[in-house]
Amino acid sequence: MIASGFDITVCVLLCLCALAAVTGRDTFRAIVFFIVYGLLISVAWLRIDAIDVALAEAAIGAGLTGVLLLGAFGQMGSADTMAREPRGAVLIALVAGAGIGAAVLFAVQGLPPEGAGLTAEVLAQLEASGVGNPVTAVLLNFRGYDTLLESIVLLVALIGVWSVASETGWGERPGIVHHARAGGTLQSFGRFLPAIGLVIGAYIVWAGSSGPGGAFQGGTVLAAVAILTILAGLVDAPRVTTRWLRWALVMGPGVFLGVALLGLFGGAFLVFPQAVAYPAIVAIEIVLTASIALTLVLLVLGPPREAPQ
């Protein structure tokens, strides 16, 4: 009974945050509610035993989404005007939202409570995957092509972001060049936190082979602390034409693809023989972490732009 009370309270607060984020005129308030919403979603994931997802959500929600949206808000200012909408648009939105929400709700409550799922199949093959965490086994072995394609999607998104650079901005540093008072609060914070963040990020990647964690979660933590050092004006983001940067970005998907092709000798594309599965997965995870972290940093910073004179 208490457990249900807890779950229902979490869900009510989640829905209130979402409601506050989509209503009202104040955009800043909506963003702050969305940040709190991300926190509550992590708690919800823990309640349905999805610790790996909770880690990813916590790292992305707390570390990156807030920075991305608040940065966009700061740069847009009052430029973000409302498009002219036909009369009754609110009513149509209300009917569509309520209708689709109700339809999905109806579908959810009608699901059979004993859904089999794939847990048994995954656990039966876990031995062969080379790792002890079933989620990592699915991500990097059983459904490795998902993760391979995802790392490529991240690169494509980055190319998309870079391609909206202004004509004079190309070849410059991505995002704004930040500065802060020397020895001030922001700079001290930017020096202090990354040391801890590096340890925690590396720990989460390493822990991923046996428990909750992995390349995405660890990479996000590393990306977040890297963004902090840039926001604090301690490090300038590298120019987008830098050669090492390009190599580092394609290294993750590249190594993954290479190992996948080697699998052809063992039978098929993306097949890891059991004997080498563990070292192969750990090697892919480490390289992938570096590429993911770098790609996420550049995605959040935005397109390159000319430094103000």
């Binding site: 249900s4 989509v22 990813a56 648009a89 799922g117 847990t119 991240l154 202004s166 995405f216 995605l299």
Partner: protein, 104 residues
Amino acid sequence: MGGDPIIASWLVYGCCGAVLVGLGLFGFMRPTTTLRRVLAFNIVGSGIFLLFGATGYRVPSTGADPVPQALIITGIVVALAATALAVALMLALARVSAGRDEDA
């Protein structure tokens, strides 16, 4: 105290996901600014993730289904990439519109 839950956790969070999808769609379609639409799009996405993850937890004794979990982690990262792309397009649009207003 306590006893059996009145309602299974997966059902609570699954229904919550459905409500979030509805709320997000409303926020996406109502007259509002571009940044708010990007935000609403993220709420729809996380509602779908929550719904999907909750259906993977219908038999708590075997733990959460790892396959939806892996797909959701992939989805969360792709949603962030899409958000970053949307924000970049939005800022570029604002820059171009501002330039056009000056010319006019």
